[in-house]
Amino acid sequence: MPGRGRCPDCGSTELVEDSHYSQSQLVCSDCGCVVTEGILTTTFSDEGNLREVTYSRSTGENEQVSRSQQRGLRRVRDLCRVLQLPPTFEDTAVAYYQQAYRHSGIRAARLQKKEVLVGCCVLITCRQHNWPLTMGAICTLLYADLDVFSSIYMQIVKLLGLDVPSLCLAELVKTYCSSFKLFQASPSVPAKYVEDKEKMLSRTLQLVELANETWLVTGRHPLPVITAATFLAWQSLQPADRLSCSLARFCKLANVDLPYPASSRLQELLAVLLRMAEQLAWLRVLRLDRRSVVKHIGDLLQHRHSLLRLAFRDGTAEVGTRGKEPPVWGQGQREGEVGNNSLGLPQGKRPASPALLLPPCMLKPPKRICPAPPVSTVTGDENISDSEIEQYLRTPQEVRDFQRAQAARQAATSVPNPP
């Protein structure tokens, strides 16, 4: 059309407004060169308002996808945005959801299950990228029950045949610790409780590693261990002011929920630290207890590798030979003396003999001794005496009594509420 300019290639003024699919273009009618391109839009109103239309809305793919699946996919994207996940996670999670939706069992499932499925897809994506998202967090976001979540999660992993790596403990520590509101003074957090983030993170990490090595993490929910480790790290960085603060108060200050097992994890961790402290001569004389050992956590963590080796003997070898008495005292004495010499201190008091390095469930005495079942020589084809069967049947008199009692109960329950 005249008045629109000239084609840069051939100089012709015959420019035609043409649209290539949904994109408006100015094209030279002589040589075919594209002079200008418009934005990719579908609807006339959008074009008029110069607003972009996303690809997923412009193509016809949504017509092929059922409404509930569309809703589910939207929920997946929303959840990823709420959790502030990187954009690539969104596509992966959506792909998993679509993959799951191809199975008829999922298509026919209840809405509650589909809702939880959204969470499962996001969780699997995060796990595969080592993003530390806990199931508890997803359940709170979705208002779902952990049991329901667990069953659907196991089902979907099996159905899609996915390899889901374990929760990355180090990443979880970093994320969880950063959520503690202790790094800035505020009306609820006095100055002496404020702590440097990096110091606390590194110490917590070391404590969690220590817990992992001493069987405190295997088989347990990871979060309470991290809570206990964070608390100990925080206390040990300024013990004079902070020893008076309890675990519950600490969590309230930091605005973090206190998980129920955290206090028992704390006790277990302190017991491990006390055992390690027994191997250091200058700490042995102090006769530490669970409160005073906190002041020396820094030292203990510094030498933790050698102290672990000294304080604990391998429980795996010992347990098999539970019958005979291992020469504990002599071994402990020898090791203790070696330890003393290596640390350059005079041989004074003897350290405690090494304890067994076992998970706490194996250290506790068994609740009840399971007696060996008696040898049974049942063949399955024995004669069954009539008297034995009769003992399980009601006599006619008993039947009548029972019926009368039942009728009376029915009458009592059917009477309307007394005034």
């Binding site: 795996t316 390095l357 084809d381 003992q391 019926q403």
Partner: protein
């Protein structure tokens, strides 16, 4: 069906786990002839009692008790005298004796038998020999027993310093025969004890189903049976319990029944029959069709802690370990198709088996894997 004998369930002991031989005679000094003979009889009674067939499944139920103790407990001294003359008769040529009817562990004792009997023979043959030398050499032979033919031949030469060759080869010949018998003893396929150092999974629960093949009136059953509970709003079946064997049954109106809680296949079958009898006595034409064991659950303890995180890394395609959901690792073994729950304390639960042998096989497969994670 469960009525046929099951030789494959008999455990076979390791060659190294031989039962302790009866203690040697305390006095080594000179004894009178009568005293010596009565003592010999007593000693031979003990040996023969050991050789008696123990209840074949007894070691299965108590892995901690050493096998020898079980044999002694189960022994019946009265039968010893009867077995003695048999022992004497079969002392010569052992290649023709068919020992396949005996459970495997007894063939080890049978190796002792020819030696004892041959010694008994040599005792009779050489009555002129000094009495002193016989007793200590007997005791040496006891202790050195096992498959130690060299010690036997040594003690024999000690016993008969200048004797003719006719005596010496005879004890050695059955000895070598017994040894060759040991080597060709057939290994039963489904043995629960091989490399596992005597750990045998114990069965904890058996679930079985049976068809009573008649429509049942659940209300009537609940009314006339003392041990039944029926709550149609909660569950559409009668829950019935019996005391011996301690089990629970779910009885449906279609006539199908599920029996749970038994500790062995035979007990499950007996319990199911008792439930069917109760239903029969209540006036229904109940039959006992299609009894089938649907699931067997076993458990055992490997006695060392297991690094579950390591196990899930190396066996990712079979394991599922979610500490946030469940403290144990769920291992889905492909062959046999068994699900194992492995805990950090070393306790293992095996489930999903239709046959007892599947549980044993699954444990044998998992034990070397778990041992690999013994060292932290």
């Amino acid at each position: 069906m469960a009525s046929a004998p099951r030789p494959e369930r008999v455990p076979r002991l390791l060659a190294g786990c031989l039962p302790p031989y009866p203690p040697p005679p305390p006095t080594v000094g000179l004894l009178s002839m009568e005293q010596e003979e009565t003592y010999l009889e007593l000693y031979l009674d003990q040996c023969a009692a050991q050789d008696d067939l123990a209840p074949p499944r007894s070691p299965l139920f108590n892995p901690v008790v050493p096998y020898g103790m079980y044999i002694l407990n189960a022994s019946n001294p009265d039968t010893a005298f009867n077995s003695n003359p048999e022992v004497k008769e079969t002392s010569g040529d052992f290649s023709s004796v068919d020992l396949s009817f005996l459970p495997d562990e007894v063939t080890q004792e049978n190796k002792d038998q020819p030696v004892i009997s041959s010694r008994h023979e040599t005792e009779e043959n050489s009555e002129s020999q000094s009495l002193q030398s016989r007793l200590p050499s007997l005791s040496e032979q006891d202790i050195g027993l096992g498959l130690n033919s060299s010690s036997l031949s040594n003690s024999h030469s000690q016993l008969h310093p200048g004797d003719s060759d006719s005596v010496q080869p005879s004890p050695e010949k059955p000895n070598s025969d017994s040894l060759s018998l040991a080597s060709i003893t057939p290994m039963t396929p489904m043995t629960p004890v091989s490399e596992c150092c005597g750990i045998v999974p114990q069965l904890q629960n058996i679930v079985s189903t049976v068809n009573l093949a008649c429509k049942l009136d659940l209300k009537k059953i609940a009314l006339h049976a003392k041990n039944a509970e029926y709550n149609p709003k909660r569950f559409a079946a009668v829950i019935m319990r019996i005391r011996e064997p301690r089990t629970t049954a779910l009885i449906f109106s279609s006539g199908k029944m599920v029996c749970t809680g038994a500790k062995s296949e035979e007990q499950s079958r007996l319990a199911a029959r008792k439930y069917a009898r109760v239903v029969q006595k209540l006036g229904f034409p109940a039959r006992f069709l299609d009894f089938k064991i649907q699931n067997m659950v076993g458990s055992c303890d490997v006695r060392f802690p297991i690094r579950l995180e390591g196990l899930v890394l190396t066996h990712q395609q079979f394991s599922s370990y979610e500490p946030e959901l469940f403290p144990g690792l769920i291992y889905r073994m492909v062959k046999p198709r068994i699900v194992l729950l492995i805990f950090v304390s070393g306790k293992v639960v095996l489930t999903g088996a239709k046959e007892r042998s599947e549980i044993y096989e699954a444990f044998e497969n998992i034990y070397p894997i778990l041992k690999g994670f013994k060292k932290a």
